[in-house]
Structure formats: structure tokens, C-alpha cells
């Protein structure tokens, strides 16, 4: 690509802004997210409350900051679980192949055929709601898609000359997997990570919106939106700001993924 990738630039800037916003929310909010103030009930956006206030007079900016921080943490944790285990399983399956690989991949295909949000709902129906249960359920359900992605890449490289010669030189399998093959797969994995991150955000937000994600006492953009919908007509900003944050967060990372695919020539 001789052109500069605009997707990467715009996506990067957007993501940096959103990360700064959400990271700030982890440490600081202008008001206490739970502090109610009777005179500010249903107040529209103003200098004191840029995002306005909800029906209980709580500052929406503070609550959005807190919710975004929580959503981001959950999404990253889900991604970590899915990615680490998916990488291990996919790398081993792709590198060694054989009957175990066939069996594991059939299972992965079966799981990946179902929408992860629905499956996670079902898992939560059994183990109950809560932040860590959400992370566990979504994380485990993200493993198959990563495993399939990684496996495909390893299949591509395991019979290449540089891998064969490494094997002839007596390099250990683990070293071949992580030092020789893995670096080649980064463009594809990076693209997969951006998609996974967005699915994690979407998943957590949707589940919390349905009321089967995090506990109502835990901050979450999805749960805020569930509450806000009841006041859609009277206080539309209550819906608009958390919604905008979710959308921009996903859009930024999505554009980065698009840029990565464009630059590296990875199929989407």
C-alpha cells in the first residue's frame, strides 16, 4: 500500500480518545456516579453536567465514565481469556494435526455456529449473573473462533521451508510454534483481535441490557441503556450519551481492524 491508511489513522485516533475517556473513568469521575441530587432530576446537558442527569438526578457523564470503564475492563478480560486459550488450542491443533485436532475443531465448529451472546445467556442462566461470570462465559465462548483462526494460520505455515529447516536443526516444537511461526500470524491475529474486542463489547452490553449480564449494582453501559430506555421520551440524552460511547468505542477498533486488513492484505 503506497497510500496512507486512513482507516488506521482515524480508527487509531478515535480509539485513543475512547481509551483515554474510559481509562479516566476508572480513576476519576466529576461526581460520584451514585450521588443523587433532587434539583437536577432529568436535567438536560449543561456546563455543570455535560451529559445531563437521570431521573434520580445522578450525573450521566460520571455514570457513563464508570460504565465505560467497566465495559472496557470486561471486554479486555473476555478477550484475554478467549485469546490465550484460543491461541494455545489453535496453535497445538494446527501444528500437530491428527485425530485430536479433528475432534477439537468439530467441537469448535459446533460452538461457533451459535451466536455467542445467546450461549453466554444460557451459561449465565445456569451459573447466575455477575461481572466475573460474564467474563468467564463470554471468554470461554470466544475460544473456538480464536482457535479456528490461529489453527488456520498455523496450517499455512507448518510445512513452509523455514519451519522444516528449523525442525531439521533440532529446534524444539514449542520454540518453532512461538518463535518461528507465531510472529508470522500477527496480522491475521490482530485483525481477529479487533473483531473479538468488538464482539466482547457488544456481547457484554447486550447481556447487561437484557438484565442477565452484570449485577444491577455493578456499573455497565448496557444496564444504563436498559434503565434509560424507560425515559426515552423525557430524557433522550440519558440514552444518547452511553449509546454514543459504545458505538464510538466499537467503531474506532473496527476501523483499526479494517486498516490492518487493508495494509496487510488479510481477508476479512
Amino acid at each position: 500500500m503506497k497510500h496512507k491508511s486512513w482507516y488506521l489513522t482515524i480508527g487509531g485516533i478515535l480509539t485513543a480518545c475512547m481509551l483515554a475517556f474510559t481509562a479516566a473513568g476508572l480513576f476519576w469521575t466529576p461526581y460520584s456516579p451514585t450521588a443523587m441530587s433532587a434539583p437536577d432530576r432529568n436535567a438536560g446537558p449543561s456546563a455543570a453536567h455535560p451529559f445531563g442527569c437521570d431521573q434520580l438526578g445522578r450525573d450521566i457523564l460520571s455514570r457513563t465514565l464508570e460504565g465505560a470503564g467497566s465495559t472496557l475492563t470486561i471486554a479486555l478480560a473476555v478477550l484475554a481469556v478467549g485469546f490465550v486459550f484460543g491461541l494455545l488450542i489453535g496453535a497445538l491443533c494446527g501444528y500437530y494435526g491428527g485425530a485430536a485436532d479433528a475432534l477439537v475443531m468439530r467441537l469448535c465448529d459446533a460452538i461457533a455456529a451459535f451466536p455467542s451472546v445467546l450461549l453466554a445467556l444460557v451459561v449465565l442462566a445456569v451459573i447466575g449473573p455477575g461481572k466475573y461470570n460474564v467474563i468467564g462465559a463470554l471468554g470461554v465462548l470466544f475460544i473456538p473462533s480464536f482457535a479456528r483462526l490461529v489453527r488456520g494460520e498455523f496450517l499455512k505455515y507448518r510445512d513452509r521451508d523455514f519451519v522444516r529447516s528449523a525442525r531439521l536443526m533440532g529446534v524444539s516444537d514449542l520454540r518453532i510454534i512461538f518463535v518461528h511461526i507465531l510472529p508470522n500470524t500477527w496480522p491475521t491475529l490482530l485483525s481477529g483481535l479487533t473483531i473479538g474486542f468488538n464482539n466482547a463489547v457488544l456481547g457484554e452490553a447486550s447481556m447487561s441490557y437484557l438484565g442477565i449480564g452484570v449485577n444491577p449494582t455493578e456499573p455497565s453501559l448496557g444496564y444504563m441503556l436498559k434503565e434509560a430506555q424507560g425515559f426515552l421520551f423525557t430524557t433522550p440524552w440519558y440514552t444518547a450519551f452511553p449509546a454514543a460511547i459504545v458505538i464510538l468505542l466499537i467503531l474506532g477498533v473496527g476501523l483499526i481492524g479494517e486498516g490492518v486488513r487493508e495494509r496487510m492484505g488479510v481477508a476479512s
Binding site: Y7, A110, A113, F114, P115, V117, L118, L121, V122, L124, A125, V126, N198, L202, A205, S206, Y209, L210, G211, I212, L225, Q229, L232, F233, P236, T239, A243, V246, I247, L248, I250, L251, G254, L255, E258
Partner: protein, 317 residues
Amino acid sequence: MGKALLKRLALLIGTLLLVSVLAFIAFSVIPGDPTASVLGIEATDEQVAAFRARQGLDLPVWQRYWAWLTAFVRGDFGQSFKFDMPVRALLATRAQVTLVLAAAAFVLIVAISLPLGLLAARRGGGVLDKALDWLVTVTTQITMSVPNFVLGIGLMYLFALVLHWFEPEFVPLEDGLWPHLRFMVFPALAVALPKSAMTVKLLRGSILGELGQDYIRTAYSKGNSRGSALRRHVLRNAMIPVVTFLAMAIGDIMAGSIVVEQVFGIPGLGRILISSIGNRDYPVVQAVVVMVASVVVGCNFLADLLYRVMDPRIERT
């Protein structure tokens, strides 16, 4: 084709059996004995015994599974814990509502994305191509960034509260097909829009890819116009990956429908699933899960058949 069909059919049945085992373990074994939670601690011994006998709780697990499975296949989904009625009766109309919603969403995706995909695949020289590329990609990214339920809330706000195109009150099928569909268009749109954008992008890429193939040059050399080359050669081949994508999307469409039902207050499977999870009404959850899974697996099966018909290159074994 016969042998391949049998093999796919065996795989379909195997997958469904696996789903049933998992659903049984998840909702009939793991939660443990539901007697106390259903009847309360003040229940008499006779009541407990009667309940246990009716639910078949005294039998060994595999017998319970078999009894559950055979009953399920016959259409007996068990008894709801929360509502004192058969699960089947509870789900009948709700399943119909969700299927209408999902089907409407699917139809919308096809109706929106096929013409737009064809339009976007027009080539008009370098600058226009680049602009179209941008437009399609950015639109896709933006629509993909909006969660179904947020899109639903947005549509609700715009069309119900601001423009008053529809009342934000569910219209059941009994009020007539047309009013029902008129209402359902909006939630279906919330499910369909992101997938439509992705389909447009895929179809455009697929058509442009096919147009660059050598056999298109052959088609032109025989006297085909662009239109007839597109109709006769490109469309079918370009549709092959799209059909696969749409089949894979059916699971997401079901999931999207279930989420969007919450936004529009539609009494479908999603609604009852969510409330049953909250109530720990496991027979209902179990039935919904198996039903949704069956739809997804069944659609994938059909898509696989269609794919084989469309692409003769697939090994027919």
C-alpha cells in the same frame, strides 16, 4: 448427491442430539433437584412425592434423559415451574412471533443488500471506485458498531416518538397480518441493518472479484453485454459466498431478534427466555434453547445443500 445428503443428514441429527444432551445436562442435571425451589419448604411429603413422580426425578439420569428426549420430540416440552402450564402451550404463540421477526429480518437483509450490492459493484473509473469502496466500508463499519438494541432504541425514538409512524405497542397477529407486519418492520430493521451492510460489502467484493475473472472475458467475446454477462455468469458465482454468509448469519439474526424483542416489548421467545432465566424456570429455558438451536442447525443444513447445488465444484461425497 444421495450419499452426501445422507452424510449431512447424519451430521445434522448428531448435532441435534449433542445439543439435546448439553441442554439436558445444563438444565435438568446441573441445577439439581428443583423440588424445594418449586414447591417451597412448607410442602407436604405427599406433594413432594407427587412432584418428583411427575417430573420423573427418581429415575437414573440416562432414563430421565431418554424420557425427556422422546417426550420433547413428540412435542411435550414438560411443565413450567413458574406458570402452572405445559411449556409447549406457553411457547406456541411466542415462537411464532419470534419466527416472524427473524424471517422479516432475513427478508429485509436480502431485499436491502442485493440491489445495493449490485449497485455498489458498478464500476465507473478509478475515482468513483475508490469513493464507493470508502462509502461501503465506512457504512459497514458504522452499522456494525451499533448494537442491535441501541439501533432498536434509535428507531423507536425516531419513528415512534418523534415521527409517530407507529405506536410503540406490540400489535399481535390476531389484529390482522398487515398491522402486525407494519409493526414488526421496525424491530426487524434493527436486526437487519448491520447484517445488510456487511452483505452489501461482501456481495460487492464478490461481484468485482468475479468480473475480473477470465471467464468473463470469454463471455464478452461471445457477444454478451455487461448486463447479460452479469445475469448469466457473474450473479450465480458471486452469490455462492453470500449464501454461505447469510446462512451463518441466521444464528446472529435469531440472537438479534431475541435482544430486540426487549426493546420493542414484543412477547416472543426472547422475552420469555429472559424472564424464565430470571425465575429459574428451567424447563422453559431448556425448550427455548433447543428450539433456537434446532432452527440454527436446520438452516445451516439447508444452506449447505443449497451451496452444493450452486457450486458443482464441491466434491459430492
